[in-house]
Assembly symmetry: C2
Homo-oligomer: 438 residues x 2
């Protein structure tokens, strides 16, 4: 295939192309800042998102710019790093080219080393038709859509004169009780009980019903069981109904069918299930059942030592267990790639010491003043874990300025309960006069 080349370079430096500006891609790019290579990072978004706080954008506490930063601004100090916005459509591993689609049409980007850090997409387990009724939470645009869905539920209930219908209109069903489902359920409960309580006249927001479903035997499968139990107790006290071993069979615009029971709800949110982005099929490599690429001990594709696949895009087993799909894994793998490429450039075909994950622990937050924290032998729950959660998340925000903004917002929300980003924005570009609302 003969394509125009994007960024053909006369540089003698080897070129590292990174696909994806999430935790893994950014860590890889940063890890290469002092390595004599040209870095070329492609993402279809112009921004990096701090995903652990997406649920706060969805529940009207934070706004988009608080948890996101332009990728090119994150990396602007690295003069040999070039960021481009475009969609990767495939790979030509033979001629070492990434195939992209952009405003300039189809273009090929040559590489010497390739880092695939394309993350995951929402998976509806073969039921993509659920997507129209049950948005997921993977991007800022998703978060705005979820936010709009939650806020519209209250707006609809407020103009519904039949109190018997309020309960149905304010029934939220969250499918999947991993960290996202648990954190979102806690935040919606908090919002209903505190933030919007005095804002409505006809409907009582305390009528909000939140169901948290999971097909597994318990919530927070990635956490220690005793902590998950504490989280479950906290959620239950906040009014969240938890149903485990409950499989979702059907979702439409009016209801969800789960565990054989029909639950009337127009507010179904999908917090379960991911599948890998199509990197596996671009590579025609071996993948696991989630589509994640099987990589070697040095994170490269077997037989392709110049191609690294990191973060959620690959599956890496340690002690017979795959590493979890969390930011820390992606970040550490990104850094490892930086070191690995540097070592190879120095030592030729120097054998690489294998990637080793250093588990820093795991956190989940439930409403105000309560989180669970698990790190090595430490198991914390309640206020101390919540303070740790807030400090750590504040510290890791992608923009320095955002840390101040979020601190102000959290402090104010802590004392007043206000959620200031309660804005219905999505899907209403240039509305036609007379369009049906809300």
């Amino acid at each position: 295939m003969q394509l125009d080349e994007l960024g053909a370079s006369s540089s003698v430096r080897p070129r590292v192309v990174i696909v994806g500006g999430g935790f893994g891609g950014i860590a890889a790019a940063r890890g290469l800042r002092n390595v004599p290579v040209d870095v070329f990072l492609i993402d279809r978004q112009n921004h990096h998102v701090f995903q652990p706080l997406l649920y706060q954008v969805a529940t009207s506490n934070l706004d988009c710019a608080d948890i996101a930063a332009p990728i090119r601004s994150v990396l602007h100090k690295q003069s040999r790093t070039w960021v481009a916005m475009g969609e990767v459509t495939g790979l030509d591993v033979g001629s070492r080219r990434v195939l992209t689609s952009s405003t300039r049409g189809e273009l090929a980007v040559p590489y010497d080393y390739l880092v695939l850090a394309t993350g995951v997409e929402q998976s509806y387990f073969g039921h993509d038709e659920f997507a129209a009724f049950a948005p997921g939470l993977k991007s800022l645009v998703d978060a705005l859509a979820v936010r709009g869905k939650i806020l519209r539920a209250y707006e609809s209930a407020e103009i519904e004169e039949d109190p018997a219908q309020h309960q149905d209109l304010l029934t939220f069903v969250l499918v999947g009780a991993g960290p996202t489902g648990v954190e979102l359920a806690g935040a919606i409960a908090e919002m209903a009980r505190v933030s919007v309580r005095s804002d409505f006249r006809r409907v009582d927001p305390r009528k909000t019903r939140i169901l948290l479903l999971d097909s597994g035997p318990r919530i927070l499968a990635g956490f220690d069981e005793s902590l998950a139990q504490k989280a479950q107790a906290r959620l239950t006290r906040m009014g969240v109904e938890i149903r485990t071993k409950t499989h979702v069979e059907h979702v439409d615009e009016k209801a969800v069918v789960a565990g054989g029971q029909r639950i009337v709800s127009q507010n179904v949110l999908w917090t379960a299930g991911v599948k890998a982005s199509p990197a596996g099929s671009w590579l025609r490599a071996d993948t696991d059942r989630l589509g994640r690429v099987q990589v070697g001990q040095d994170l490269t594709v077997p037989g392709r030592p110049e191609i690294f696949v990191i973060g959620d895009t690959s599956v890496f087993e340690e002690k017979g267990k795959p590493l979890p799909g969390v930011a820390q894994v992606a970040i550490q793998q990104g850094r490892y790639v930086g070191r690995a490429i540097a070592a190879r450039l120095k030592g030729g075909t120097l054998p690489q010491h294998p990637f080793r994950y250093s588990d820093r622990g795991n956190l989940a937050v439930i409403g105000k003043n309560f989180a669970i924290l698990e790190s090595h032998r430490i198991k914390l729950s309640g206020l101390p874990a919540w303070v740790a959660w807030a400090t750590i998340h504040l510290g890791f925000l992608p923009q320095h300025q955002s840390q101040w903004r979020v601190l102000v917002t959290w402090a104010s929300a802590y004392f007043s309960g206000a959620r200031t980003a309660r804005l219905i924005l999505e899907g209403r570009f240039r509305p036609k006069p007379g369009a049906l609302l809300p």
Copy 2:
């Protein structure tokens, strides 16, 4: 017409229905807080927007929640005020009902007093086909669309290898040199020169070309001529090309034709021209050529003393000149309506003293450290006016918490030049794999 009634009430208090939650509608609702009436405010958005700072959302400095607040949260302390989200489709002035469309279908809302504060819409002077290529700036969603258009221009230029095309890709044409056009031009110039300068590798953002067109003889027609000249000098020094007496004849996806000349630009922004919302046609009342309702000295429609039309929705002449379409007029008229209804309830058909506008002055800001201020005999320009501008705008933000957030953002932007909300968000809900980007 027999419709279901929305919010039928057994209250013996008279009911005031307010249509629109902008400056006028909110001021009217607040003005009625201690008056023995039930207030019912309808808006098709769930939020009030502080419109004077929309251009900062469009130029990536502020985020949506900084300049907007949920209407029901603004009014939540008024227990006899009810806010509903819905679209008004017409009026039945005979039976005193507002006709609405909402999730509950077509509903009628009965009123004793009606306040129409529906604002203005963008006007393309009979060329609605321009709208697809030249977004206006009237709502948060508009601001996100303009922001996306500006940021995409740089993203497209960055992957364009032919430097000859960079100039075209970075040509911004602003149609209309009123305050919105002037402030937007200044902010884009500032962004190009400072905020994004070090973020690009292939394109030089200083190549940004900004044309500010107006069909009138000078910019800022609403300001004193000497101040407008100072603003013009400032803009020119920032690199903005100003073309007055230039009429836009055509806009399409590739170019704009103005004053007989074709300017290649995919970045046309519409900062000219408004037309009144359809309140005039609902009322079948006399309107001016912009569709604004002619009201009497007490802001009511002739022959309909129970219907007030305020803000940009009406035209009110003082000393033979119509009042300008600014926030202060709407706010003062809203307050007047509150007092007028209170007086009528107390005194029966007490003749109302006429509305009188107290002009507090006029402000426009151009980039950093420069604004113009005109108030009675005071005419200021430069840094003192800029300090006044920043202080006044900070003070009038709709949410207390936002004041702190905006202060942090402005302080940081002042010293670092950073614009932290450079996020392309609009129009990308659940993108299909392989969709063309950017």
